[in-house]
Amino acid sequence: MDYKALGLVAGIEIHQQLDTKEKLFCHCPTTLREIAEHNGEFSRYLRATVSEMGEIDRAAKEEMKSDRKFLYYAYDTTCLVENDEEPPAPMNEEALSVCLTIGKMFGMTPVPQVHTMRKLVIDGSNTSGFQRTALVALNGTLPNGGQIETICLEEEACQRVKDEVFSLDRLGIPLIEITTSPCMHTPEDVQKVAEYIGMALRSTGKVKRGIGTIRQDVNISIAAGARVEIKGVQELDLIAEVVRREVQRQQSLLEIRDELVKRSAAVTDGGRDVTDLFKDTKSTVLKKAKKIRALVLPGFAGLVGREIQPGRRLGSEMSDYAKKCGVGGIFHTDELPAYGVTAEEVAMLRSHVSAGAQDCVILASGSSEKQAMCAVAQVVVRAKIALSENPVPEETRKMLETGSTAYMRPLPGAARMYPETDVLPVAIDAARWNAVTIPELLTDRADRYVKEYGIDRPYALQLAGSEKLPLFERAVNEGIKAKLAAFTILSTVTELRRDGTDIAKIPDEAYLAAWHAVEKGQAAKEAVPEIFRSIAAGCTFEDSLKKLAPAVSREELEAIVRKIISERSDFVAQKGKGALGPLMGVVMAEVRGSVDGKLVSEVLRKEIDKVSNGK
């Protein structure tokens, strides 16, 4: 696809959790908890409030369409601040410092005085109904020449347990938000920039690691389309695909609009009550509904059901809009008969509402008249957009598993910002800014490992990006050979994980103890996997070492080797030096990993030579 010709413009926002001791606006730890550990719960409603400029944000208005009661889980690691029962503490200085470091890494300018804002979010993910956020630095540059517009320091939202149930452990963890300018023009560009920023963030050593700790939002538009923000892309590998699919979606919507115009399609408000028509239906959805309304979309037949990106149709978009009224979705005649609705019922419906062959009929069902009408009204809104001059609405969308997206809410505007009156501004003076030091980039570090330790570059890059990097640094400082530590961290551990060994159960101290044992000759490096398996199974390091690598002296080793050679004297006589390889395994099995392979090989060679020469 010629993305340049399409006028693809993309920017990204990267949200990365910071690994600080305490949360951003309270003194709780930043630890995630198991849902089952919650020790309290409470329920709340949220309602949209006006912004500082006196308006209600359009995204917030949309969330207000249904009156939702939210349930929150509290823990012994959360406090009244997360419960929205206490004013926030001052901004976490540690978190602010990390942001300043990152800002300096990108050559940005800090704001003279940081003001915390409330960003209205009333989907329940924040107990307060807003996310606290502060602009910290402006105007940075990327190696590809692109711009970083801003760095903001924000508080993380609650984790959704399910539906309207949220867990408070994540709420308030500091989050850095890095926003690039719309400076990318191909799907691959976007992925590369995201990779680079992620690497730079990890270089600070102050960011959380693991799934869910970094999320990318992608802003995409094509020349004839509109800006769409796709939230929550967690896997880096999917970013390019998300961009490709969004381009496809925008193009498809443009094509559908052209077709609708050609057909002189139209949208009229209202719809009509068809509840009685389905009183004997086998469709479980319709049977459950108290009210069913039908809306005829003249000229829309075939287009509502047309795929606009894998697994998504114009009908899916209409359905997403309708869901804001609390309904499960809608049916449309492009997909019927299906879902228990029979061909006869479709024919009856079409004739009842006088729908022509080119018309699509939408069915919206709800638990009340009000709900069904709300759903129809939402479909009307979306259908009108589909045949308007700008058929791609500006939206916030969420990523689905494979890289397609679903509608969340309209793009929020500046109207969702309100000053956080409970937090004092923080001045960033020259002295503070000048004292910020820039950490070594992980890519530079990898280059250094290549030079200093002779580790291969791909390996060195992997090591620099590893969560065990601090352990590696510590080991090298303690005199462990870099290659030994690197091999264990990158190869041994990966193999053990594949075998199903619970690597998380092996503390850093055990790594160091094992390496020191190898360095001192108390254990062979070949014994390390066995020792780790034993520790993961619950043994202490000392017991594991004793059990798996009992100390063997050189004399004992020579005796063992001589015994093995004498038992296989014919074989040795026949093979000569060639016996070394096969006998290595036999000796290693005998000493059970307590002697380094190199030493075994040396002794074995000597003894084989003796036998051969003696001959």
Binding site: M53, G54, K69, P112, M117, T127
Partner: protein, 382 residues
């Protein structure tokens, strides 16, 4: 620093010398139009005094201040229009720490006039810090056949999670109910599911920030309002609508004080109260001060100051007959305040001294229950 709002909605602080004038900003969103009302519903009056229920950003300090009036509350909380139609009386826009006995008197007169004018109930929006004092003051100053409901919010009205809407809706439900006394209606727990109706003379703010900060002490609440159903349940002990005839007794004696005794407190502090007509002491335990304070208290009492002992325990009854210090306090002229809450005792003392010239009768009034402020039996534990 000058605060600059960026196009993204973010504010940043920059040195004023870095700013230059370009043009005046366009007009801000105007005041909302008067809220639509259904005249077929009962009439409630909303007397607004300010507080968190009506708070917005204050550009002087960057914190919040009280800026809304009653109409803003109606616009912000549309459900109120389903319960009643409203007359709105903006009495003050202050945070409640700035309340004074003089404003209590204005408030009492305004509320009295509203009930006289046919309101089925009156809602008083009030800051939570001193709401209990004001509720007690109105309890003594007005005999009312209709409910007078104080309401506020602990979390500011400019946040989506504010408790203002549920509290206000519940207050309106209580104000149209069968209740016939002065009450405080606020969250019963941290959940948005029920408000408690507290008697104005037994209620106290017991937490700095939680939604359910208000508790009835030494008594159960007189009722509850379920949310969102707005069902009101009153306990058998609640005073019912029409039980009392409308009357206003708005005299107060402002020269009264309230001090909390602490270990090592200097008797010199008492000198500041010379010439006061009344003084409430929040004593320790059963109602004690140190022996060192007793001569000063005797002097105050001899000079005509009515000294009333309450307990800083908040729960339980004063008894100055158990220990020798207590006996000495009684001998010095100190009056036992029963299970009066210290703040309610202060307000009651102002009211009693404002309406009763005879010291003996004033003492008797202080020890008699007038508006549910003191109980005969300690039925309720902690």
């Amino acid at each position: 620093m000058a605060v600059v709002k960026l196009g993204s909605g973010y504010n940043i602080g920059v040195p004023p010398q870095a700013c230059s004038f370009i043009e005046h900003a366009g007009p801000q969103a105007g005041k909302p139009a008067a809220a639509a009302q259904n005249n077929n519903l009962p009439l409630l009056s909303i007397v607004s005094t300010g507080g968190t229920i009506a708070s917005r950003i204050d550009y002087r300090t960057g914190s919040v201040t009280s800026q809304f009036d009653a109409n803003d509350i109606l616009v912000a909380i549309p459900e109120l229009a389903e319960i009643a139609h409203y007359r709105t009386i903006p009495l003050a826009t202050i945070l409640s720490e700035n309340m004074t006995p003089a404003i209590w008197q204005d408030l009492a007169r305004a509320v009295h006039d509203e009930i006289k004018g046919g309101a089925r109930g009156v809602i008083v929006t009030h800051g939570t810090d001193t709401m209990a004092y004001s509720a007690a003051a109105l309890s003594f100053m007005i005999d009312s056949p209709a409910p007078i409901v104080f309401v506020g919010s602990q979390r500011s009205a400019d946040r989506p999670s504010s408790d203002n809407a549920m509290n206000a809706v519940s207050a309106a439900a209580a104000a149209t109910s069968d209740l016939g006394e002065v009450a405080v209606v606020m969250h019963d727990s941290t959940n948005d599911d029920r408000c408690a109706i507290h008697r104005g003379t037994r209620v106290r703010k017991m937490h700095t920030s939680r939604r359910d900060a208000f508790r009835s002490l030494g008594a159960d609440p007189v009722g509850y309002v379920e949310y969102p159903s707005r069902t009101v349940t009153l306990t058998p002990g609640a005073i019912r609508r029409g039980e009392r005839k409308l009357a206003l007794h708005d005299n107060l004696e402002p020269h009264c004080g309230l001090i909390q005794f602490f270990p090592g407190m200097s008797p010199d502090i008492l000198k500041a109260y010379e010439g006061y007509r009344g003084l409430v002491i929040a004593g320790t335990g059963l109602g004690h001060t140190s022996t060192a304070l007793i001569p000063g208290l005797r002097k105050l009492s001899d000079d005509g100051t009515l000294v009333v002992m309450t307990s800083q325990c908040m729960h339980g009854r004063v008894c100055d007959r158990v220990y020798d210090t207590g006996r000495d306090l009684l001998a010095a002229g100190v009056l036992e305040g029963g299970d009066l809450l210290p703040e309610a005792a202060l307000v009651k003392l102002m009211w009693v001294l404002g309406n009763e010239k005879s010291p003996e009768k004033a003492k008797a009034l202080m020890q008699n229950d007038l508006k549910g402020e003191c109980t005969r039996r300690s039925a309720h534990g902690l």
